[in-house]
């Protein structure tokens, strides 16, 4: 069990900066997801924690101990690879015993611990099977078991669900979360899938272009994104962002959205050009609504309906719950956005106001 501290961590590959000035403290037993699009530096960060890469800048500490330069075999880190990296030429038992044997554990102890972990992960019946040809959820359990059996203080998972088809992913997600509760280890999980991060992680670290943008619980990140990137990246569909102008009319602050309309906001901290953000789920249809946009497409996906909206330069999406009146394509859709749901961003820096 370990607290991980990343201090001003950076990595350059030649001229290319893969990671820059990353500061993050991951508490003991916490499940943190590093989330971002490919090339954002999340895997680089993870590989540096594991010791596969050396940082060019900054420090990594495990429970106060500096880890820079410590070879990866001695960091006490369990790593679950994207494709699990199961030794397919061995049996399940040989896979589970690998780390214990490598660390010189006695044969009887090895057998006992392998049996224990197999019991815990429900792999007992498969112990003498060849690992090749096992189904993917068993491979995932085996990969976790193989790392867990040597009792690492930290678990790193590199997009373990990206090879799994969508239907199966939710099963795997809940299984993974249950396993984490069982082992209580500090876990760092790399993913580009915001849904995985939202459903499993205690905290999410959103990254882009080698920078850490925001760290927070899934709801914090969802409700109060620090900038437009995070706003767009979290949620499916992401937050709507419309260019607008804050001014005061009738004594109250309001946003002028051009052709789309004009709506009141709760507290506009500044006047001038802003980016007006709201979640598609917060759209309230209202025939007398202050805002209106043309419907360009209607997506019916069972329980909810997604409207694609456009007006002038503005594009947005609205999510309507089941049972709502759904407009047709080409209709003008009138709606309101409750003031509390509005998030304003600076028009130039794109950071939250």
């Amino acid at each position: 069990m370990t607290e991980i501290v990343l201090e001003n961590l950076g990595k350059k590959f030649g001229e290319f900066t893969a990671l820059n000035g990353m500061n993050l403290t991951i508490a003991n037993g916490e499940f943190v997801a590093l989330l971002g699009p490919s090339g954002c530096g999340k895997s680089t960060t993870m590989n540096m924690i594991a010791g596969m890469l050396d940082p060019t800048e900054g420090e990594i500490r495990f429970s106060g101990k500096k880890m820079n330069g410590v070879p990866m075999g001695r960091r006490g880190v369990g790593f679950v690879f994207q494709n699990y990296a199961i030794f397919t030429h061995m049996t399940v038992r040989e896979n589970l015993a690998y780390g214990l044997k490598a660390q010189g554990e006695s044969a009887s102890q090895t057998k006992r611990r392998v049996d224990d972990i197999a019991e815990l992960l429900q792999l007992t019946d498969l112990l003498d099977r060849k690992a090749a040809g096992l189904s993917v959820n068993i491979l995932q359990r085996l990969a976790i078991g193989r790392s867990a059996v040597v009792e690492p203080s930290i678990f790193l998972l590199d997009e373990p669900l990206s090879n799994v088809d969508a239907a199966f992913r939710s099963v795997m997600r809940s299984e993974l979360k249950a396993l984490q509760r069982q082992f209580k280890q500090t876990m760092v999980y790399v993913t580009h899938d915001q849904l995985e991060a939202m459903t499993m992680a205690d905290r999410i670290a959103v990254m882009d272009h080698g920078k850490l943008l925001q760290v927070g619980t899934p709801l914090e990140v969802y409700n109060n994104p620090v900038d437009t990137f995070v706003a767009r990246f979290i949620g499916a569909p992401g937050m709507n962002l419309l260019k607008g102008h804050v001014g005061s009319a009738d004594g109250a602050a309001s946003v002028d959205l051009g052709a789309t309309g004009r709506t009141k906001v709760v507290d506009a901290k500044s006047k001038g050009d802003v980016i007006f953000g709201f979640r598609p789920e917060e759209v309230k249809p209202d025939p007398k609504g202050e805002l209106h946009m043309a419907v360009t497409m209607v997506e019916h996906i069972g329980a909810r309906t997604i409207l694609h909206l456009m007006e002038g330069q503005h594009e947005a999406k609205a999510v309507l719950p089941a049972g709502s009146d759904v407009p047709n394509q080409g209709d003008i859709f009138h709606f309101n956005v409750p003031g509390t749901a509005v998030r304003l961003f600076d028009a130039t820096t794109e950071r939250a106001l």
Binding site: A50, M52, M72, G73, R74, V77, G78, F79, F81, Q82, N83, Y84, A85, I86, F87, T88, H89, Y98, G99, K101, A102, Q103, A132, G133, L134, S135, V136, L139, R146, S147, V150, N163, V164, D165, F168
Partner: protein
């Protein structure tokens, strides 16, 4: 082979069971479409073998003036095979071939494996070194034969270097000393064919999944453990192929040996193919040659059969 690709997780195997019906249909069509080509290949391979079996049961020789298809007039049944079993020159040639093989193949394998280990990671000048190492393999064996013939002359460069190193004149008669001549041809074979072993083993080593090796390191395995538990087992198939190729080739080795020593002095370097050549060219008893060749073919077929079945299992 399946072992290498099965690393990507597959959801279940029930899918493949469902496909089996369609697969069988497809197989039948595939077989029908390739049948003409298969028959041609079969004919090319089978006809000479049948002819060989036929000739080996006669006392036929091209000097008799009888065309080969009428060789049955000289039918002698299994006499050639009986003679073969009691032919001391045949057995000593077989024995010598085995010695060459038993020295060359392990040495080439270990050298090739060692080189592959050195070359598996990037280092400055790797590409240039790699190409250089492969050069011997591309030299025509006859040319390599002449090269070693000259290197091993009593006044040649090898004695020259030894003289220089030892500080006194060395006059070893490499190729005319019956005890040393075999060593000379073995060295030439190792020089020429270690690169092939290296090439195949390096390809095999590079195909060992990187993440599995990483996983082993993260579990605390050192270099040796990783090499013997991950790298070598995953190279099993390719190792079998490499060794099978060299075993078969060593059995057939001819050109450079013939040029370096001509099988001499006496019969000191007479391997089985040189013996066959001499019986064919000098003694002209082709029925007997056919019997020898067939015996070797059977032995080599067993060797490659074992290798192929090993590959299937792998």
């Amino acid at each position: 082979m399946t072992d290498m690709t099965s690393n990507t997780p597959s959801r279940s195997q029930s899918q493949s069971a469902a496909d089996e019906g369609a697969g069988r249909e497809e197989k039948r069509l595939g077989f029908a479409l390739t049948l003409p080509a298969q028959l041609l290949v079969l004919f090319i391979a089978l006809f000479p073998i049948l002819m060989q079996v036929y000739i080996s049961l006669t006392d036929w020789s091209p000097l008799d003036g009888i065309p080969w298809y009428r060789a049955y007039e000289l039918w002698i049944g299994l006499t050639n095979y009986v003679d073969l079993a009691g032919d001391p020159r045949f057995w000593s040639a077989i024995w010598r071939t085995l010695i060459v093989m038993l020295i060359c193949v392990p040495v080439q394998f270990l050298l090739g494996l060692g080189l592959a280990i050195l070359f598996v990671d990037e280092f400055p000048g790797r590409r240039a070194m790699y190409s250089t190492i492969l050069v011997p393999m591309m030299v025509v064996p006859a040319v390599a034969g002449y090269m070693f013939f000259m290197l091993f002359q009593s006044g040649g460069p090898i004695n020259g270097i030894l003289s220089f190193l030892l500080g006194s004149s060395v006059q070893i008669a490499w190729l005319s000393d019956p005890d040393l001549a075999l060593l000379g041809v073995i060295i030439s074979d190792i020089w020429q064919w270690t690169p092939l072993m290296f090439l195949i083993l390096l390809a095999g080593m590079l195909s060992v999944p990187q993440d599995q090796q990483m996983a082993a390191v993260l579990l605390g395995a050192g270099w040796w453990r990783r090499f013997f538990t991950i790298v070598l087992p995953r190279m099993k198939t390719i190792i079998v192929i490499a060794i099978a190729i060299r075993v078969i080739e060593n059995f057939k080795v001819f050109d450079n040996f013939y040029i370096i020593t001509g099988g001499g002095p006496g019969v000191a370097t007479e391997t089985i193919s040189i013996y066959i050549y001499k019986v064919t060219q000098n003694d002209l008893i082709w029925g007997y040659v056919a019997a020898i060749a067939l015996a070797i073919l059977i032995v080599l077929s067993i060797v490659s059969g074992m290798a192929i079945s090993r590959m299937r299992k792998g």
